[in-house]
Amino acid sequence: MKLKDFSVRIAGLAGDGSLLAGEVLAYALKRRGLYTVSVRDFPSNIRGLPTSLTIRANVERIFSWNDYIDALIALEPKAVYSHLKDIRIEGVIIIDEEFKSENLGRDDVYLYPLPLRKKAREMFKKEIFKNIIALGFLGYVFNIEPEEIKNSIMFYLKGRSGEIIENNMKALEEGYSLAKNLLKKRYEIEKSIDPGRYYLSGNEAVALGAIAAGCRFFAAYPITPSTEVFEFLAKYMPKFGGITIQCEDEIASINMAIGASFAGLRAMTSTSGPGMDLKTEAISLASMAEVPLVIYHAQRGGPSTGLPTKTGQEDINHILFAGHGDVSRAVLVPSTPEESFEFTFRAFNIAEKYQIPVIVLSEQAVSQNQQTIDDIPYDGNLKWERGKILSEEEVFEYVKAGKVYERYELTEDGISPRAIPGTKGVIVRYNSNEKTPDGFIDEENEYRVQMVQKRLKKLERIIEDVPEPEFYGNKNAPNILIGIGSSLGPMRESLIRLKNEGIEMSYLRIRTLMPLHEDYIYSLTYNKNVFICELNSFSQLKNYLSRIWGRKQNVYSIKKYSGFPFKPSEIISEVKKILKKEN
């Protein structure tokens, strides 16, 4: 049987090696030219709690996981129960033979109890190799050449000892040979011959985007699910003359980035959930003092410590409104590694052009899950655009003309030229208080009003520089889905499947939450049934968008808050339920 689209899940307890085996498999699939998406489910714990990696592969670009899985490797016997319902008919389960399978309750699947632990102990005196033995078995089931997985092991274990690599290779071969003797059912996956693609997580893409954008200062406090950005930058920033610094807390990190930006650098900080709470005051500062700043925020389930390692879109309200007073900001929301890269790059240009904080709002399912992508969107369209930053020559013109440089000069567009502190001839005075154009504290009505208007003016044109919503499907369809972030893939797949059931649907994916493309959204959604997909319980996205339509429009929220991204079937059944109720 030939598979065009297939999903595999490797599940166990933290420490069982399920993530490694999954990564190895995904990379092997990517090398043979398949597009993959992986969904990580892991606990906020080092060892002993359920962990799994689901990999879906397809000959075409995909953006989300599927409703079912074709095969399960259960490295920890009990894991089989948690995932049983997801296995499709005629699917494959690989488990340890020590597990007694009588009570499984499913006779429509192929069950392979294997001596995983026994073999690993016999061969290597270590149980840990059971993951690669199981992977070898799976490789045979899906007709993947051992060489392909071996190359992938080499990639993942680069720098490890020869013995470890060799043992992994032996374990893999053992898996293949077990399969040859036991196999009842074998599948073939469709092959593609174009291997020139990249396997990347959203976090890695954000880090790449920052380096490409000329960010040379990064300060943060490690927090899941954003830490990989830090780790990637820590490795590469010094090579470009820059610095990363792990701070005592989130407050210090954002304020350091503000200091570096004041000094003339492109600076960034990254965080998640509770970390963003702590950064809020400094976002007000960046807005008020007109300091360009990029803040990367990967959402997790909340509130408080919440679900540290799982996804959510619960911070929409916070990101849009964090800070006291009228705080300027732009908020970009990527869905893919490509967009994580591009939006991060563009965030630096927007931050410097308008001298405001720009937030790149991601979520665990986008930031940590890896996808195979065609290419990094890095071409002539992305340039360092530093806005009104004064060169030494321009500063010299000020001095020659006998003009006093004013950091907050009142200009036509509300944007004042920025001089770099340390440039001879000008004093650069930033202030978090209300101020006169030259930056001195001033609370008098005259300047207060002018300064507020100046900051307002800057916001008028940002819409020209931020990513537009993405529309997909038939413009005349009476129903439309709206979503952000990880909802992209499930929404796209829902459209196709709903059409087969006679329900015409389109989707609109919002890529900038602030400023909002209100007219565009209005024109595409007016008088339609609008279904807003969101991963929170308060309908935060729906409440925010509802001002576009007023009260009369049929707007419904499709909510999920389990910590996982949508599955297409969940959207489909909700849409059908709502439509049925309305008719």
Binding site: F155, Y156, K158, Y198, L200, E204, L208, I211, A212, G214, R216, F217, A219, F232, Y236, F240, G241, G242, I243, I245, E248, I251, A252, N255, M256, A257, I258, G259, A260, S261, F262, A263, G264, L265, A267, E281, A282, L285, A289, I376, Y378, D379, W384, F396, K400, I420, P421, G422, T423, K424, G425, V426, I427, V428, R429, Y430, N431, S432, N433, I441
Partner: protein
């Protein structure tokens, strides 16, 4: 262009900022005068200095001095200043704040800046009171202090900031008195010249809300220690001994020559990422893709 921009600073007037709004007689005037004089005598032009402050009376400092400046938010002056310094070490970064600002809300940053030994000069105008909010206790106020929010007397014990910075790893620790600008100016000069984290606590009377700690009180109770002491432990012991006698220790307590944070990271003095970046071009696509290939 060179010639026109090559200003020679001929008088301390070059550092004159806006007219201050401090209360007449405020201790902070002495600190302001001492700092201007120190910068002038050290030949640091206003263009090469950046004064970073938090919030409070003392944090209005940047308005009253003519240098690059950033008036930031409560307690966060040290992180902002750290970002400035790491971006461009050619700037002389002076951090000016108060005791509530730096020892209360910013207490954590204080400890970590000291342990990092970043090359900053941190001047704390310590009036042992929250003044801008019109008179409440500070972390340095004594036990039993009766003020607006502690009508029955404060139940908190005061901290000794110099012992904190000493034990956290600061490499220059001193205490001055704003009524003695002559000595204070010298401490500031030494602190600015010092490569590493310099903490200078300055007794700076609040003439409006803290009559208990007046100029006269300090004049009668300070004791000049014969520092700097050779070892950190010795400095700590001498400070504690002085307090036990009921006296307030002042002077330069401790100086240590040690590789400062930026030097440790970049391997050279006066490195400026801002300048380095000027010479950089955008990465080529190939360079970018190489980063992905090597990610593991």
């Amino acid at each position: 262009m060179e010639k026109l921009l090559n200003f020679e600073i001929t008088s301390v007037k070059a550092y004159e900022g806006k007219k201050s709004t401090w209360c007449p007689g405020c201790g902070d005037f002495g600190v302001l005068a001492a700092l201007k004089q120190a910068l002038f005598e050290l030949g640091i032009s206003p263009y090469d200095a950046a004064v970073i402050s938090g919030i409070g009376c003392s944090s209005k400092f940047p308005d009253y001095i003519n240098t690059n400046a950033f008036h930031t938010i409560h307690g966060r002056l040290l992180p902002v200043a750290t970002g400035v310094k790491l971006a461009n070490q050619k700037l002389n970064v002076i951090v000016t704040g108060g005791d509530g600002d730096g020892y209360g809300i910013g207490g954590n940053h204080f400890m970590h800046a000291a342990r990092r030994n970043i090359n900053l000069t941190y001047i704390v105008m310590n009036n042992e009171i929250y003044a801008l909010t019109k008179g409440q206790v500070a972390p340095t106020s004594p036990y039993g202090f009766v003020k607006g929010t502690t009508p029955y007397g404060s139940k908190d014990n005061p901290i000794e900031p110099c012992l904190i910075s000493l034990s956290a790893g600061a490499t220059f620790v001193a205490r001055g008195f704003s009524g003695d600008t002559k000595n204070l100016k010298e401490y500031l000069k030494e602190g600015i010249k010092h490569k590493g984290f310099s903490h200078i606590d300055v007794l700076s009377p609040c003439v409006t809300f803290n009559e208990e700690y007046s100029y006269d009180y300090f004049r009668e109770n300070i004791e000049l220690l014969n520092g700097p002491f050779a070892r950190r432990e010795e400095a700590i012991a001498k400070i504690m001994e002085t307090w036990r006698k009921g006296k307030i220790p002042v002077g330069i307590f401790y100086v240590e020559e040690k590789k400062h944070y930026e030097l440790d990271i970049f391997g050279k003095e006066d490195y400026s990422i801002v300048e380095e970046f000027k010479t950089q071009k955008m990465l080529s696509k190939e360079e970018l893709l190489k980063l992905i290939e090597n990610k593991k």
